[in-house]
Amino acid sequence: MIFGLSFGSPYFTLPKFKYVRPKSIEEALEYLKDNGEDARVMAGGVGLLNFMKERLVEPKLVIDLKGIPELHKIEYNGRLIIGATTTLNEILSFPKLRDEYNALYEAISVLSDHNLRNRSTLAGDLCEALPWVDSPPPLIAYDAMVNIIGSKGSRSVKVKDFIKGMAQVDLAPDEIVTSIELPEAAKKRGRFYKFAKGSEFSIASLAIVFDASINELRLVFGGVSDIPYYPEELSEMFSKAYSAGDYISNAISYIRKNFTPLDDSLASSEYRLNIMETLLVKGVREVIQGEKR
């Protein structure tokens, strides 16, 4: 662990900083360029303010992105584009998400709680890059992209490459995430399974995205390692499998052979492996039984 969250420690105040609320992306980039590592951007603030209370980050400048109109949007034009400051509840109420991106819809529905979802954002979830956050696994399963802008121009990177480690992402100090973009998924279905043992932190989660004829299937696990675990070999194994039972037992032995989950205060590695198996069995069976081949 890079840092341990000290649950229950009494941190009441925020360190001193200057707050700015730019009205355009250019203005925000200017602030970032001038202040480098001393600046932090804020969208919903749920993660940032908590980390600042714990003095895990102490920026001298906090740049609130909520004043920038073009970052606050959700739209569909063949691809789903979610702006950086769009809150999780605003995302949930977008009908296309519920209809066509079920796995992401289900994951956001169980992420933290309703009141925090009035503040937190998808881009914030991604930039935090903490293992127990539920939105990255479905984003990877849908092959989503992160759109980034910096002083040297804009670029796009796949979510699976964006998250590089626990609390580490492919984002330079002078760059901001502008939006998250999901490819068309009208012919796809998805499910999300979460096991949290009563707390809001996922001990293990599983996003499954498959096509309507169930010939292709993608499995992405969350909460089990520093970054989401996306075994692409399991997708290949699926297209060659004879039966669901055959696939499930092969997939389980593949995971046991090739992967060691996190071992921390939430759960031991072996415990997580068992939960992963349970989610896999439940998920694959439901996918296959729920949809006619």
Binding site: K16, N50, K53, N89, D113, H114, N115, R119
Partner: protein, 165 residues
């Protein structure tokens, strides 16, 4: 900077530090004490207020962020001399013990039922899951919420601002 807010229908302004939480600003600078500070990290919900039409935990909002916005707390639901019908229903069902979290629960239930008085019990439970009552009076709150639902169904949902600034 000077932060100007409409709190429970009244326009107020006071000086706020950039690193001041909306929770501290409302309690200490504006003297509105029904919202409570307990966990300071967005887990317990005792600091719940309706900010620009959305129920949020004010320990995770900066005072300067809320500038020019509108805040509603339990004081805003009640009239000058009488408590609101929702609060009366809470009292009738004994949906509290020590009362510490009650203003926050009342505000959140008001927000949820105003948004959708037809919400199922499961939905209400899920949407209240970000709050903690340390006395554990959830079983008294549920019948209170059931009764309050018919009240909100009758009265037209109050229009609330849609965007958070």
């Amino acid at each position: 900077m000077i932060v100007k807010l409409k709190v429970n229908g009244r326009i107020v302004e006071a000086e706020a530090e950039d690193n001041e939480l909306l929770l501290d600003f409302i309690r200490d600078k504006l003297g509105v004490k029904s919202i409570k500070a307990a966990c300071w990290r967005g887990e317990c919900g005792a600091c719940m207020a309706i900010v620009n039409g959305k129920a949020v935990k004010t320990c995770l909002v900066l005072a300067v962020e809320a500038n020019e916005g509108e805040v509603i707390t339990a004081e805003g639901l009640a009239g000058k001399d009488a408590i609101s019908p929702l609060q009366k229903i809470f009292v009738k069902h004994g949906a509290m013990q020590c009362g510490f979290c009650t203003p926050a629960f009342v505000v959140n239930v008001h927000y949820l039922l105003s948004q959708n008085p037809e919400a199922s019990e499961e939905e209400i439970k899920e949407k209240l899951s970000g709050m903690i009552c340390r006395c554990g009076t959830y079983n008294q709150m549920l019948p209170a919420i059931r009764e309050a639902r018919s009240l909100y169904l009758k009265r037209k949902a109050q229009p609330m601002a849609s965007s958070i600034s």
